[in-house]
Amino acid sequence: MDKKNVNERLNKVFRDVFDDDSITVNDSTTSADIEDWDSIEHITLIDAVEHEFKMRFKMKEVSGMKNVGEMISIILERGK
């Protein structure tokens, strides 16, 4: 699993969760860039990412991730 591959799969998850096919995420994407990304949708998103990559985020990570780049590096470390 390389970064490009993670990025692609993650992009699909974002599009499903926010039901918006125009979304393209990159390392610097944050919740400010996606209109519907509020604290409630964040829970849905984390859950969907966990299912996609068959891994769990630690509680600290859930609240501490600054942008999609940080999410990707955690996935690269532990995801499948």
């Binding site: 998850v13 039901d19 409630i40 969907a48 509680m59």
Partner: protein, 599 residues
């Protein structure tokens, strides 16, 4: 929608809820609007969004009020302006074992002291439910789920200081309260948690991070269970289970294997499985679900199978047996018209996926259950929510008898040359009079269930109906019909609103099981005579077209009303001057019989 039908994919629903909602809103379904207040003891946002999907799928468009996090008790007991203004149609109290505020603290506590704690927790909830009676609407309360952790192991269940013991005792009190109170329902999350798996359900990171009382993945289970209760309250349950025979009610093919060759009973594992399946189906009949047979077989062979010495279900258990070589969708449509039931109130169970597929694609709204092992069908049926029980009326319990009596009437009809002669032979007696408190529940239920013979399809909540009952602005009639084959119970309801010398018909409905019996005429005759007593001169009738009520589009014309206006959407307005009205009913004796009124 397939994605929302049990067994559903929880994580798919969570991830794709926006897409699913969009698809539901675009499918042009006709939906009733309901206001639902959710008072929550833990975060409920995702429960509410999943509940919305299931309700939309059931034909209910919800509008939600959600209490502040963990303010369920305060909202209920002290109220708050937003909640009061919302005027909910249904209140959900989403609490869990996380909301139990006190457990036994020390093992030195006496049994009495523990009982006091159980009582005080229960009374706190009771106080809330009693306060909520101000809304006069159904309340759905979660019970408490089994905890994951048991410090003392198995003793946690039986030892008085155990949490499991505490929770089970509390749950028992909830059940007793529900038994004693109408309009109060339990959402059994204790069952859901066990089914889901306590380890997976109690993923406490969701509590620590978001104050979710269960794992996010369990949320659709809770929402689905709530939706099943709500749609049942609004009369959207199924009514009939239609069953295939070969390899569904017994193992093997009766036409090939003969009566001695099919597997049913206790001789083999297969036979055991089919016997237990038949028993599970019979359990539905006990609370008024109708059973039918739809099988590709010669009828004589079908009956041979149903008369097997070890069979649980016999021909008498079914209100209709269709065993022939016609397509099954055709047989089911015939069954539906013979019984005057909408085909969408049918569930069809068949081991053959192709048959299920054809039936589903030919008959809109019908549900099917397909299976590989028959025990799978029992479980799917049990979790389907098709027959979720919220009110058990005496009519429900008599329903099978009523349909069997109907079948007898049908066969008698054939022996009469003249239809009016046949009607007279039925020796029909009706009671038609103003509402009585004891019937309000059944009357309200009818307003939410009747779709076909319903002129305005106006739905009433218990509160709405109470208001109508207490006001002198209305003329109200219920009609109850019995005949030589049995009592049909309350079958027709009319509500008219008085305005000077005119009466506007807000509601006119009739159960389809008494179609073509002149019952509608008997209702009109009585209505007219009541109007005359109250100095009403004209009656205005409305027909509001829905996809289901075409059968009454010309009813007012048949009654002799004049058309006032017809709208492009199919709605119409009618008027009748009652000054020289002549009675239309000749077949039914009205308010004469003593024997009918004691029921």
């Amino acid at each position: 929608m397939k994605e929302l039908t049990f067994p559903f994919d929880n994580s798919y629903i969570i991830k794709n809820k926006k897409k699913i909602k969009k698809a539901l809103l675009n499918n042009n379904s006709v939906r009733i609007k309901k206001k639902i207040a959710v008072l929550c003891g833990s975060t409920a946002n995702d429960i509410v969004s999943a509940l919305e999907l299931f309700l939309l799928d059931y034909g209910i468009e919800p509008d939600f009020y959600i209490s502040e996090y963990n303010k369920y008790w305060e909202d209920a007991v002290f109220g708050n302006p937003e909640f009061e203004d919302f005027q909910p149609d249904i209140i959900i109290i989403h609490t869990t074992s996380r909301n139990i505020t006190e457990f036994p603290e020390s093992f030195s506590e006496s049994k009495d002291s523990v009982n006091q704690k159980i009582n005080s927790q229960f009374e706190k909830f009771c106080q809330m439910w009693e306060k909520l009676e101000r809304f006069k609407c159904p309340v759905i309360q979660n019970n408490f789920e089994t905890p994951l952790l048991r410090p003392t192991g198995n003793a946690d269940f039986w030892e008085v200081h155990g949490k499991t013991f505490f929770i089970n005792s509390l749950n028992m009190k909830l059940a007793e309260y529900a038994q004693a109170h109408e309009n109060f329902y339990i959402n059994d999350i204790n069952y859901l948690a066990s089914c889901f798996g306590l380890e997976k359900w109690h993923d406490s990171s969701y509590w620590y991070m978001y104050k979710y009382a269960m794992s996010l993945n369990a949320v659709p289970e809770v929402a689905y269970s709530l939706a099943c209760i709500i749609k049942s309250i609004y009369g959207k349950n199924k009514k009939l289970i239609a069953l295939d025979l070969d390899n569904t009610l017994w193992g093997g093919v009766i036409g090939d294997d003969g009566q001695e060759g099919i597997e049913i009973g206790h001789e083999t594992a297969e036979a055991e499985a089919f016997e237990e399946f038949q028993r599970s189906i019979k359990d539905y009949k006990k609370f008024g679900v109708l059973l039918g047979v739809c099988s590709k077989n010669d009828e004589s062979n079908a009956l041979l199978g149903l008369n097997h010495p070890e069979t649980v279900l016999t021909p008498d258990d079914f209100v209709s047996i269709k065993a022939n070589w016609n397509p099954k969708d055709q047989n089911l449509m015939e069954m539906s018209s013979e019984l005057s039931l909408l085909p969408e109130s049918f569930v069809f169970i068949d081991d053959n996926p192709a048959e299920c597929h054809i039936v589903e694609s030919q008959i809109s709204g019908i549900s099917t259950i397909n299976f590989t092992a028959v025990q799978e069908a029992s479980y799917k049926l049990s979790r389907s929510g098709f027959f979720e029980l919220t009110k058990l009326s005496s009519d429900d319990l008599k329903r099978n008898d009523m349909y069997i009596a109907n079948a007898k009437r049908e066969s008698q009809k054939k022996s009469f040359a003249d239809y009016s002669e046949y009607l007279l032979s039925l020796d029909m007696n009706a009671v038609i009079e103003d509402f009585k408190p004891v019937y309000l529940q059944r009357i309200t239920q009818l307003t939410n269930k009747s779709n076909q013979f319903n002129l305005t399809t106006k739905r009433y909540s218990d509160t709405d109906m109470q208001k109508v009952f207490e006001s002198d602005r209305y003329i109200r009639l219920y009609g109850r019909l019995s005949d030589r084959f049995g009592d049909n119970g309350i079958v027709s309801v009319v509500i008219g609103e008085k305005n000077n010398d005119n009466l506007s018909i807000d509601l006119w409905l009739m159960s389809c099981r008494v179609l073509k019996r002149e019952m509608e005429y008997a209702m009109l005759d009585t209505l007219v005579s009541e109007c005359k007593k109250q100095n009403i001169r004209t009656i205005t009738g409305y027909y509001f077209k829905t996809p289901k009520n075409n059968m009454v589009s010309e009813l007012y014309k048949d009654f002799g009303f004049d058309l006032v206006k017809k709208f492009e959407n199919g709605d119409s307005v009618w008027k009748l001057d009652i000054s020289d009205y002549k009675n239309l009913n000749h077949a039914i004796k009205i308010n004469e019989s003593e024997c009918i009124s004691n029921g």
